[in-house]
């Protein structure tokens, strides 16, 4: 309606106003995306490449380091995202209780990690999990372990530290979405359930979670994307190696290494990047499928 009434002149001014943004988007987003797709079919070292068809994809299937990075990334994803989503829901539920004291303080404390400086927190984690760090000392003191754990030297514990770190960092971020959604739920729904004798766990399981479903889906998708792109923590904790012996190497770190560390192999790095894109696409689609309302009348 309104569009039809716009004069030709107004339409032109409209385009002129958004043109700068469109140009920037085109140059810095759309062009690189297309270019990287084209690059992913190029072979060669450095700036010296030629079209190679599916060579990169074949190389990938035979590249043990890539398989390693892919497996690690998927392990991080499968372990970390559910834990974090669950924790965020539990925290949000607890912090939404109006009878809790110091709510604002707790909310801030849990949200703060995701806005702290990456370097500061990585350094802190590294020192905490050092051989003689507070974590080992505390565990020794309460006799959970008999001798210090070599957190960063053991492939299993190194993954655990990474998962702990990203969970610590992003739980609060997800929690804020849930808190916001919870504030929109009519409080008398819970009061009605309480009067009707619905126990607290069932109010959480059968009322809160279904009512938050759209937000949970949204946070799951963005967390999945975030974890698939995991780079910062691994890079900082392992000085860019993904060690010990590639046990924390992620796809993003591998791409970085392929591009900037080893003899640059831009084409192959682009192919690996597109693997992330494809996985994100498939997983997001699956998540929407799972969360879809099964009844025809929504």
């Amino acid at each position: 309606m309104a569009q039809a009434n716009l004069s030709r002149n107004e339409r032109i001014s409209g385009w002129v106003f958004i043109a700068p943004a469109l140009v920037l988007l085109g140059v810095f987003m759309i062009y690189p995306i297309i270019w990287s797709l084209w690059m992913s079919f190029q072979v060669g070292k450095g700036m010296n490449f030629s079209f190679g068809g599916f060579t990169n994809i074949i190389r990938m299937t035979k590249d043990p380091v890539f398989i390693r990075a892919l497996t690690n990334t998927l392990i991080f994803l499968v372990v970390q995202v559910p834990i974090m989503i669950f924790l965020a829901l539990v925290f949000a539920n607890a912090l939404n209780d109006p009878s809790l004291r110091f709510r604002a303080l707790f909310r801030t404390a849990i949200f703060l990690p995701c806005v702290t400086s990456l370097i500061a927190y990585s350094t802190l984690f590294k020192s905490m999990f050092a051989g003689d760090g507070v974590i080992n000392k505390a565990l020794l003191a309460v006799h959970i372990i008999a001798e210090p754990i070599a957190w960063f030297a053991d492939p299993f514990w190194a993954k655990v530290v990474i998962i702990l770190a990203i969970t610590w960092r992003w739980t609060g971020y997800n929690m804020v979405f849930y808190l916001a959604a919870m504030q929109n739920i009519d409080r008398s729904i819970y009061e009605a359930a309480r009067i009707d004798g619905v126990p607290a766990w069932a109010r959480f399981r059968y009322l809160t979670i279904p009512m938050l479903k759209p937000v949970i889906l949204f946070t799951t998708v963005i967390s999945t994307i975030g974890t698939l792109q995991l780079f910062d923590e691994v890079y900082n904790f392992t000085a860019g190696t993904g060690g010990p012996s590639d046990s924390t190497l992620t796809l993003s770190l591998y791409i970085y290494n392929l591009t900037f560390k080893f003899m640059p192999s831009f084409g192959y790095a682009a192919t690996v990047s597109w693997v992330i894109v494809v996985i994100v696409g498939i997983l997001s689609f699956l998540q929407f499928l799972v969360a879809r309302d099964r009844r025809p009348a929504a």
């Binding site: 009519d186 009061e191 309480r194 004798g197 619905v198 009348a297």
Partner: protein, 357 residues
């Protein structure tokens, strides 16, 4: 055995006292309405009975047992909220059966209970819909159904009809009255609509500022209010109030604002002294042809409602009085009117607003 007893019940939010000592007895199977202006504490009192707000002081008994510290689910009550509070992601059937799952009721029994409630409330064709696919009145019925399946001894309603349009409100009011007969349980019903209170209640509790202003049957409150507040709150259109002074040994009241007209009043047991300032209360429908007393007034405005005619009349620049007449269709604005009434129907209130009897 589902009567309630409240003794010295108080509630404070921080330093602010909201319920200031309520004593109340509610008989088993009674339909009790809490009525009062906005913010007087009706919802708070109801929520204290439900167990949603802790009781600051005093005692609450339901069915003879002290309930102050009993969990809401164990008080034998069910509540219907103003916002309906339906579970948005569940169908009507699931909404009504949900709580029973946690009470250890077997599935077939839940289905039977839900069907029974659906029959009473005529919800049959809607059972597989979600709340957002229902109209306001239908949602309200689902909320009531959810309460019915629990077979509570006491139903609590907090302004259940205030989100409905006028026509539906009248319809649901009749439904509720029927439901009370059919279920034969105690009902406590909060409203700020005095018409709802008058039509539904066996007993009305008028609340004012966290205290009980008066308790009685609808007609007791209408005919025999204890104070100015109740007299003004109950009845529509509102009671007329005229300020005056007792004269002639208590047999008349002189009205300085009405050109010193005097009106006779029925003999009072308390025999107020001459010169006592009083407020005279006259209901619009107390004005009748052939009454022994009258006021001389000028008609300002006439409203014809068909069955009734309201005349708005005043003396000089004084307060406008409302006069209801049944058959004076020929009344005209600007005319002089001698408004007759029976002196026995005039109520007197002292300077503190208490009734003089």
């Amino acid at each position: 055995m589902s009567g309630l007893k409240l003794r010295g019940v108080r509630k404070s939010f921080g330093a602010i006292e909201v319920i200031k000592g309520v004593d109340l007895d509610i008989e088993s199977k009674e339909f009790v309405v809490f009525v009062g202006p906005s913010g007087c504490g009706k919802s708070t009192l109801l929520r204290m009975i439900a167990g949603l707000e802790p009781i600051t002081a005093g005692d609450l008994e339901i069915g003879g047992a002290r309930m102050n510290d009993v969990d809401p689910s164990k008080r034998g009550i069910a509540m219907v909220f103003q916002t309906y509070a339906l579970y948005p992601h569940m169908t009507v059937r699931e909404n009504m059966g949900f709580a029973l799952r946690f009470a250890g009721v077997a599935k077939p029994e839940i289905a039977r209970q839900v069907d029974e409630a659906a029959r009473i409330l005529e919800l049959g064709p809607l059972m597989n819909r979600r709340p957002k696919e229902l109209s306001g009145g239908q949602r309200q019925r689902v909320a009531i159904g959810r309460a019915i399946v629990r077979h509570p001894q006491v139903f609590l309603f907090d302004e259940p009809l205030s989100n409905l349009d006028a026509e539906l409100r009248v319809h649901m009011r009749i439904e509720l009255a029927r439901l009370h007969k059919e279920l034969a349980t105690t009902i406590i019903y909060v409203t700020h609509d005095q018409v709802e209170a008058m039509t539904l209640a066996d007993k009305i509790v008028v609340l004012r500022d966290g205290s009980v202003a008066q308790v009685g049957t609808p007609l007791q409150l209408y005919d025999d209010p204890d104070n100015l507040f109740v007299a003004g709150f109950i009845g529509s259109p509102k009671m007329n109030f005229l300020s005056g002074v007792v004269a002639a040994g208590g047999s008349t009241v002189r009205l300085p604002d009405y050109g010193d007209q005097s009106i006779p009043v029925a003999a009072l047991r308390s025999r107020p002294a001459d010169g006592t300032p009083v407020t005279v209360g006259l209901r619009p429908d107390h004005f009748k042809r052939g009454g022994a007393a009258h006021l001389d007034l000028n008609v300002e405005l006439i409203e014809h409602l068909g069955s009734e005619t309201y005349a708005y009349a005043r003396f000089g620049k004084g307060e406008v009085l409302t006069i209801a007449t049944q058959n004076d269709r020929d009344l005209k604005a600007g005319a002089r009117l001698a408004a007759h009434f029976d002196p026995a129907s005039a109520l007197l209130f002292d300077a503190a607003g208490q009734r003089i009897r």
